[in-house]
């Protein structure tokens, strides 16, 4: 029996068993699912995002571990950065803004589930705007630090502060770009589907990571 015949037999056999969903088999014609050339199942994007977030989490864990080690170093030169109230206040405000953006994002998705495309899009853009506000607030914190004479290399505490907030800010900026890309897709496809889901996962993860980083920075005393 020729190899192609065997394969064909297997294909036919398979399509008998693989009747539910998608479908594949000898004829290879598209049947169900999105049109377009992608063969990747939608849930793979969600899995991919979870994996990507694990890798990103390890990166932040490395930064935080380094900071913890440095903080406990016998050289004793760790000066807590958040001495006066103003830096703490700015950071608290930024944190609330970011939390708020997660809330607006959840609201946007609930609007989408209710079928309200316009509402979804509006709240989605509000989320992006709040993200931009967060970044602006971080930059403001940086400017205030510079005005107080605390630069990147001034002391270990300031070095880690700039490094950690910059690393998070870069990731968040990437998230904002992703949100805007999703925002300007055709309305018909916007509310549903995987891009919204994975962008939301990323955004909420950035928020959660910020909470973790923020509490580390805020508790900047001797360990």
């Amino acid at each position: 029996m020729s190899d192609t015949a065997i394969a064909e037999r297997a294909g036919i056999g398979a399509s008998v068993t693989g009747r539910n969903g998608g479908g594949f088999g000898g004829n290879g014609n598209g049947s169900g699912g999105n049109s377009g050339a992608s063969h990747t199942p939608q849930r793979a994007y969600v899995t991919g995002m979870v994996i990507a977030l694990s890798g990103i989490a390890m990166f932040f864990m490395a930064l935080i571990s380094a900071a913890v080690v440095r903080r406990g170093s016998p050289s004793g030169d760790w000066r807590p950065l958040i001495v006066s109230g103003w830096l703490a206040r700015i950071l608290w405000l930024n944190t609330l803004v970011l939390l708020g953006s997660s809330a607006t994002m959840l609201h946007a998705r609930s609007r989408a589930r209710a079928g309200d495309e316009t509402g979804f899009r509006q709240w989605w853009i509000v989320t992006s705007a709040l993200g931009v506000c967060f970044l602006a607030g971080q930059l403001l914190a940086w400017r205030q630090l510079v005005a107080a004479g605390l630069y990147l290399a001034t002391n270990p505490s300031s070095s880690f502060f700039y490094l950690i907030t910059a690393a998070h800010g870069v990731h968040l900026a990437g998230g904002i770009i992703a949100l805007l890309v999703v925002a300007f897709r055709p309305a018909r496809r916007m509310a549903r589907g995987t891009p919204v889901e994975i962008a939301s996962m990323y955004w909420h993860a950035m928020d959660a990571i910020w909470m973790f980083l923020f509490f580390f920075l805020i508790s900047g005393g001797r360990s």
Binding site: A7, R9, G21, G30, H39, D77
Partner: protein, 592 residues
């Protein structure tokens, strides 16, 4: 886990045009080949660097062409050594096993049409290529290539060119290159893991995956979790070098008579911890795919199932997991807390257990088999031999009391070269000879392959076994020559022997290159399944069509290593054939 069918849509049109087809392709097969050819270039560069090193060690005052000044200076040796290690570890051993063969064969072996994220895959390759370009550029920037070793410990690497030549721009290019490489690896890991989880063909349960797929999967998970730490460390190193921070630079350094001001209590050991937290999993990333390939090929050519398939899959996972817990064994004499050394030592010795289990299982796979000695099998047998030798020298290094006398001697160099430079490379050769017919539709010349094997097998042992003795005697690594202390002169005969062996073995690799390219051009046409294998890559044409299976995606009916099943029609039962197709003759005896 995944038993639901994959959606297949309109049959994809092959991309038209040379560029879309061969250069900017999203086809995992093309990307796999791109990685493979990149690693071929990288290994050539790496071997040439090592030959220059070996030459200098024996004839340090010899006049050398192309070297400015005519005679190689110590810092040039160190630059060669740094680049040799970096290029080999990153651009050969992390690229070829996973990036090349993993990309090419993971989707096919699980019955998928491509990776989960083809465009991300393409981006990973191009970033890796850019990283390689950056790395090579370190040779030509002012000051030359860095001299701090592939481990780049600060403050040597953290203060710029005042610590030595090459530590200026060269070190910066090195850091940029590896940083880009980190990013590329992270993207690639996402692809590998998602694809393995989500895109397996119906019937391809986890316990029916080939061990190569298991190995690539565990390797990708390790890659995902390790490269983040390296990226963090690199960013901090860049800031120390150019922004005056003190993550790793302590106070009060006096370099070349110059007091380094503006630094505060940074800790060089922080770099070591972060680097080795990445660095140890990295070496397992280099070897694990080779282990998967060895299991796969030993089974195929012994015509027997893998002995203890579940244990083989489990030990891959165990090595992956344990590999993250023992980075401190690189730091026994670093000034790290001596109590933690005991913990790291115990964990390091424990990882010898799954490795030993794998070795015994490979022997068990051959035991009672019907072994055919085609070239892929020879290299897999060689892999086992080198892995055993190299792994056992690790048992010495894992004990801190012995490490006190062996650390940073040639004993360590022997150990890691045997496992990485030889065993892992044998895994790559094995995979090349095995899968060449599938990838290119042509057969390689088996006689030349056998010749290549024998010369490399003998040659590699000649190069690396004497290094144990050099190390025991007190030969220190990373020395550019042996004029520094009297007793080292006695080692010259050993070094001479190793250098000659190195040149001879390198020359033998020309046989491989000749065979490879000649067969590519005019090898005999390869059948679909020249090795009579059971896994899914042998169920499609050589080379496979654009979507891997010409629309006839397989359904999997059995495990991956059903060889010589009693009562089967043939001595192999392919995974994709329904039971009726593999059932034997009326007498029930397999027709061999």
């Amino acid at each position: 886990m995944s038993s639901s069918p994959q959606p297949v849509h309109a049959p994809p049109r092959a991309p038209i045009g040379f560029f879309r087809r061969y250069i900017f392709s999203t086809d995992h097969k093309v990307i796999g080949l791109q990685y493979y050819f990149l690693s071929l270039v990288a290994v050539t560069v790496g071997v040439v660097l090592s030959l220059l090193m070996r030459f200098h060690l024996v004839w340090p005052r010899a006049h050398m062409p192309f070297v400015s000044g005519g005679v190689m200076r110590p810092e040039q040796y160190l630059a060669l050594m740094t680049m040799h290690g970096t290029i080999m570890v990153f651009f050969v051993l992390t690229t070829a096993p996973l990036g090349a063969f993993g990309n090419y064969f993971l989707p096919i072996q699980i019955g998928a049409p491509d990776m989960a994220f083809p465009r991300l895959n393409m981006m990973s390759f191009w970033l890796t290529l850019v990283a390689f370009g950056c790395m090579l550029s370190a040779f030509v920037v002012r000051g030359g290539a860095p001299i701090s070793g592939w481990t780049a410990y600060p403050p040597l690497s953290g203060l710029g060119s005042i610590t030595g030549p090459g530590e200026g721009m060269g070190q910066t290019m090195w850091i940029v290159s590896i940083g880009i490489f980190c990013f590329a690896s992270l993207l690639a890991s996402i692809n590998f893991i998602s694809t393995t989880i989500e895109m397996r063909a119906p019937g391809m349960h986890l316990m029916r995956m080939p061990l190569t797929v298991w190995a690539w999967f565990v390797t990708a998970v390790m890659s995902l979790l390790a490269f983040g730490a390296l990226l963090a460390a690199l960013i901090m190193l860049v800031l120390d070098r150019s922004a005056g921070t003190s993550f790793f630079i302590p106070y009060g350094l006096v370099v070349n008579g110059e007091l380094q001001v503006g630094r505060s209590g940074g800790w060089p050991l922080l770099w070591e911890h972060l680097f080795w937290f990445f660095g140890h999993p990295e070496v397992y990333i280099a070897i694990l795919p080779g282990m998967g390939i060895t299991s796969h090929i030993i089974s195929n050519f012994s015509r027997k199932p893998v002995f203890g398939y579940r244990a083989m899959a489990g030990t891959l996972c165990a090595i992956g997991f344990l590999g993250f817990l023992l980075w401190g064994h690189h730091m026994f004499v670093s000034g790290m807390n001596p109590y933690s050394s005991l913990a790291f030592s115990a964990l390091t010795l424990s990882i010898g257990v799954p490795s030993a289990v794998k070795t015994f299982n490979w022997l068990g796979t051959m035991w009672g088999g019907k072994i055919h000695f085609d070239t892929p099998m020879l290299f897999s047998i060689g892999f086992i031999s080198f892995f055993v030798t190299g792994g056992l020298s690790g048992i010495f290094l894992a004990q801190p009391a012995l490490d006190n006398m062996l650390h940073a001697t040639y004993y360590v160099v022997a150990h890691f070269h045997l496992v990485m430079a030889v065993a892992a490379i044998f895994g790559i050769f094995s995979a090349t000879y095995y899968w060449f017919p599938k990838m290119f539709g042509k057969m390689m010349n088996d006689t030349l392959g056998k010749l290549h094997f024998w010369l490399t097998f003998v040659g590699a042992y000649c190069i690396f076994m004497p290094m144990h003795f050099v190390g025991l005697y007190g030969g220190i690594r990373r020395y550019s020559d042996f004029t520094g202390a009297d007793y080292l002169v006695a080692l010259r005969p050993l070094h001479m022997f190793m250098t000659i062996a190195a040149f001879a073995t390198a020359a033998a690799q020309l046989i491989f290159f000749y065979n490879f390219f000649k067969s590519l051009a005019s090898g005999a046409k390869a059948p679909e399944n020249p090795w009579r294998g059971t896994t899914l890559e042998w169920a499609t044409a050589s080379p496979p069509p654009i979507d891997n299976f010409a629309g006839h995606f397989p359904h999997v009916f059995r495990g991956p290593y059903e060889y010589s099943v009693p009562g089967a029609r043939e001595d192999f039962s392919p995974q994709h054939l329904p039971p009726s197709e593999v059932a034997g003759t009326a007498e029930g005896a397999p027709n061999v």
